[in-house]
């Protein structure tokens, strides 16, 4: 059985090719990181009854998804995996806030229904934007941007190592899980005690990997810091792009 995390991991692993050949990852990261932050900030700041503004903002991820030819089915499945909590919270609004808000023909919509819809659309738009960002920007480029904006070296190194080794260890964990299910019937062997030992031995393997990696890094001249040149310089065109993108967001926010 696939866990939620494994599904998300596999989507990410298979999806990157579609867009990364389409765009220049480093430029996309330089423009994308500030734009994504601004976008999410604007989407989040939309007042709770303002459907038009959130719908207007949804144009951006929709446009990008179409342009980059991202599979809608995959996008939809990812949204579904991620949103049960949000759906519960949104579903509570119509029950709790029953004040009539607008009447269209014979149907009256309560304020709770409107604010519930806004929550759902907001989350779809914000999550959609992040998913599309992850399709366009390679992780290394993202880390280079973080170094450029002076995020501490320790943290960026940590992100790079974590990302790199997650593929290796996830494969190992999957192999262990498969071995366990092949040796047992039904739910035998999935108890806490057995699983803790399984995770414990994965941990020991991890520690031994860490040791090998450290020796390999030291052999290649590692002294606690990755390459200092590992940065992206922001060009004038990047700034122009960022400013124009953010102004469009501001404009939409003012108009709607």
């Amino acid at each position: 059985m696939h866990s939620k995390r494994l599904q998300l991991f596999n989507y990410n692993r298979s999806g990157v090719d579609s867009a990364s050949s389409f765009v220049n990852s480093e430029r996309c990261a330089a423009i994308g990181v500030p734009s994504l932050l601004a976008f999410v900030l604007f989407v989040v700041s939309v007042p709770k009854f303002d459907i038009t503004a959130v719908v207007a903002y949804s144009a951006f991820p929709l446009f990008a998804a179409i342009l980059l030819n991202i599979s809608y089915v995959t996008l939809f499945k990812r949204l579904l995996i991620l949103s049960p909590f949000i759906l519960i919270m949104a579903a509570a609004n119509p029950l709790l806030d029953r004040q009539p808000f607008i009447t269209v023909g014979a149907v009256t919509f309560s304020a709770g229904i409107i604010s519930g819809i806004v929550i759902v659309v907001k989350s779809v738009v914000a999550i959609g934007a992040v998913i599309i960002f992850s399709y366009c920007v390679h992780f290394t480029s993202f880390c280079k941007v973080l170094r450029t904006i002076r995020v501490p070296e320790v943290f960026v190194t940590q992100l790079l190592l974590l990302y790199r080794y997650s593929f290796l260890l996830v494969d190992e964990a999957q192999a262990m899980q498969r071995a366990r299910s092949m040796r047992s019937f039904r739910k035998n062997g999935t108890g806490i005690v057995t699983t803790a030992k399984l995770i414990g031995s994965l941990l020991l393997r991890t520690a031994s990997h860490a040791d090998h990696i450290y020796r390999a890094m030291v052999a290649r001249g590692f002294s606690g810091e990755f390459d200092r040149r590992n940065k992206i310089s922001f060009k004038l065109t990047d700034w122009c792009a960022i400013v124009s993108i953010v102004s469009v967001f501001v404009l939409i926010r003012i108009i709607f």
Binding site: M1, I102, L159, L161, L162
Partner: protein, 339 residues
Amino acid sequence: MHMADALLSPVVGGAFWVVSGALIGYSAKKIAQENDSSRTPLMGVLGAFIFAAQMINFAIPGTGSSGHIGGGLLLSILLGPYRAFITLASVLVIQCLFFADGGIMALGCNIFNLAFFPAFIVYPFLYKRIAGQAVSSVRLGVASILSAEIGLLFGASMVIAETVFSGITELPFKTFVLFMLPIHAAIGIVEGLITYGVVSFVASTEPLMLQGASKVKLNKVVVITFAVAAIITGGFISHFASSHPDGLEWSMANVTGTEEFVSSVSGKVHALSSAIQEKIAFLPDYSFKSPNNAAVESEQTALAGTTISGIVGCLIALLLVSGIGFVVRGKVRRVREGA
């Protein structure tokens, strides 16, 4: 439990971004001072280990459902507060950006809820004191279960506080508490049990692994200051800001020094857009009936910037944007195939 963007106001999200950012900076500085590069790859790989371990499911006793380890307490036990905090924060950043699990605006909240408490509060103040240096399995068990429980309850309470301060959901405080805390109390026991299982396995096979973390000295004054600062910023600022209808306008007004700036600009743009709208609108006379109650009506006319024609207009714009997307995509494909 990951917070989502859609339930958060920009002020609360921003406040926790600042606090979590400062904590990352502080921890990074402390780690740089330790000058022990041999633990750098260990942190990276242990972060990846948490990812991997979360994919191994186990059956939760008595429920028939399955769960996975959270890993906050386990990392703190293995790495000590500063390194565990950085590692947990990095796991959350990757979950947020590359799996879209937990929003970007909510990232600061998530780091605070899920990394700060296990690394800086529960591990040094509770786990270390109960478990001590002994490998006695009773003390280890009590320490693990209690610490995991308290850590998760702290985290869940912060989720409640952040959501209530944001005021996006209508769920009343009491219902929310009754909904969140019992679930997290149950999850906490399971998390404690599995952490205990892993730690006692490691203690019996590779006891040296557990000793590195306990040597790290924590600056408790700084940690408590951070905790208090976070709660004050999150609570007070959002309370103050919530009297303004819109957090962004409020902050824009702060930047420009005047509230009229926003309203005058927005007024002009509104006038212009309504003039354009009148000319091109295909549903000019379409309006909706408001409820008969006059007081409610006036309040809601003010609230409702939404009109049916606005929404329909937006949907048409979306269709147009999609159309342009398809055209551009087709063009790019043709150019590529030609090349």
